[in-house]
């Protein structure tokens, strides 16, 4: 399948000692409801190499959204360690995490999460504002990011003047504008019809083909099918991991449950 080719190609190019984009070890996360402890994650290990396209799947309550929030540095694990692009982020304070979110992570949400009173261009610019990029440079980079998702002509439109698919493309441009190491998408097609979903996935695939590491959460098998690797959650654990890139370091250092090595085709 063509699906595995880019990542294999990537893998061939990268140095074997290079650390993965994501290295998560023994991640657990508990929520506290009064005095009851609700474990959302129970010891998750996961490595994601640069250039991978990973779909996180699982029923609701399986912990995939919690895991996504932890990957996105929106939350901190109860225990476990997280190396993002080689940087240990699990011990960082909130300001450092803000910088990590700003510079290393691009996050796309199910409900787009654009600021309604701002134009598409302003929305895309916003992360650069918090990086302290000068205005002219911001404009240039935001316009470029918009053109990458094919929305150059809609730069001055507000979200209400755009279709759902267009809004999600603006959100993708916003996630890309800081040239992040990791692109996270939490059910990016959940609010879109199947045709528009297909467009969004195609964009993600193209970005991935250019080397961007993409992790997305989805319920829909149709969407997950486009990813090279499917990771399935249940009850706070990874129960299935299909299509991971074989990697010496990964294999030796982090033992993982790999129930089925079959190809989905």
């Amino acid at each position: 399948m063509q699906r595995n080719e880019p990542s294999n190609g990537m893998n061939g190019k990268s140095h074997p000692e290079r650390s993965p984009v994501i290295r998560v070890e023994r991640f657990s996360k508990n929520y506290y409801l009064g005095r009851t402890v609700v474990p959302a994650l129970r010891g998750v290990n996961l490595d994601v190499q640069q250039g991978e396209f990973v779909a996180l799947m699982g029923p609701s309550g399986s912990g995939k959204s919690t895991f996504m929030n932890l990957l996105g540095c929106l939350d901190r694990p109860t225990s476990g360690s997280y190396l993002l692009d080689g940087v240990p982020v699990s011990k960082m304070n909130s300001n450092q995490l803000a910088d990590i979110r700003n510079q290393k992570i691009g996050f796309v949400f199910q409900s787009f999460n654009l600021l309604s009173w701002m134009t598409a261009l302003d929305n895309v610019e916003l992360p650069l504002v918090y990086s302290g990029v000068a205005r002219a440079e911001r404009r240039r980079r935001a316009a470029h990011a918009l053109s990458m998702v094919g929305l150059k002509s809609r730069a001055s439109h507000r979200p209400v003047e755009l279709s759902g698919g267009q809004q999600q493309r603006v959100a993708i441009a916003r996630a890309l504008v800081t040239t992040p190491s990791l692109f996270l998408a939490d059910e990016p097609t959940g609010n879109l019809d199947s045709q528009t979903s297909e467009q969004i996935i195609t964009i993600l695939q193209e970005l991935n083909a250019r080397g961007l590491t993409v992790v997305l959460v989805t319920h829909e098998p149709d969407i997950a099918r486009h990813a090279h690797r499917q990771v399935r959650f249940r009850d706070g654990r990874i129960v299935e991991d299909i299509g991971a890139i074989p990697h010496e370091i990964v294999m030796t250092d982090v033992p993982r449950s790999r129930p089925a090595e079959k190809q989905v085709s």
Partner: protein, 442 residues
Amino acid sequence: MKIMRDERERTVQPLPPSSKPVAKRRPQQHRRAHGFQGMFQSTGSALQALRANLLRSLLTSLGIIIGVGAVIIMIAISEGNTSSINSRLSTLNPLQLTIRSGSTSTGGVRGGAGTLQSLTQADADALGQLQHVSAVSPTLNANGQIVYSNQNWSSSVQGVYPGYQQIGSWQLQEGNFFTQADEQSGTTVAVLGQTVVDNLFTPPGIDPIGQQIRIGTVTFTVVGTLASKGSTGFGSNADDIVYIPFSTAQQRLSGSQFVSSIVLTADNSGDVNSVQSAAQALLEQRHNISNPASDDFTIQNASQVLSTVQATAQSLTILLVGVAAVSLIVGGIGIMNIMLVSVTERTREIGIRIAIGARQRDVLAQFLIEAFVLSALGGIVGLIIGPIGAFAIAHANGYPLVIDPLSILIAFGVSALVGIVFGFYPAQRAARMNPIEALRTE
């Protein structure tokens, strides 16, 4: 997707691993170098947010507008008042001493000054013999209805010596003050204050000099009218007065042996105090009083009056400014209230901002600036409205318009400060939001 392909060369190329850290480190430096950039942006988004809720912003600012306006108006009123009092007191003869009868004390109940009749014309004449006394006059008050033709007016009628013109610093508008001869023979002549003239001789155009007026049952001839001293504020009016010879008042209107007060002037300011103690000693001797504590009269000098009135004006100022300051604080609480609502309403926006990399400080700054802009805009409008209101009030009350630039500065500074102080708690609440929960809200 066609566009994407066109752009392919310039977009996220599979970067060689070595170049990546460089690309990542650069924004970090930007972030430090352009601290003001974020501030600028925060101001922009604050203005956008305020414009989005224009009516609410206006209503919130209203508290500050009123507060700042009130501070300026209140300060202007009290300044105007003080300067009006000062100009009034400057027409008052600073060399003047006023002696009033002491208070009665009947079974422990003390009446006001003057309730005890103790001063006589003879006392006044004796005081006139003291050294450094340039003029003296007893006064006898006889309020009464003054009638001219078919007009009438109720005013204060005082019997005084001709020398009173000098003591009271009165200028004549027309005619003359009555003379020593009038005093000696008790002629029925009168000198009218401007207010009395205005109210009695209507329609204007009648020359009051030589006209016959009636006070009570006695007919008087008008020999002079006094130049106006202007309103004193506080409701009293120096121009609402009629002067007649003392002897005439005593014989024709009052019949009393006693006088209401004795006024005298020292011949220069250095002698006021020595004249005061000499007058006290003389009166004690004449009234057979050995203990000054049981004096049956009080002596008041003009400089005491001056300081009393100024102290009163001062406490009025404090009161007014205090009230205005309270309204500023109330305005601040309004801002805090609205900012809390705004933070709650915009939870999702805050979540988005935090998710894409806003630090706590960035969110704090955004909402602080919003509160600051809200109160500073209110302050600016207050700065416009305040002086207009002050002008209107000054105009209506005949005060001079006095606007202290310092009061404007203080009012604006305080309003800006109010925004920051009362905006801090809501802003902090926004900054400390949990992004996951914030993004979950609708």
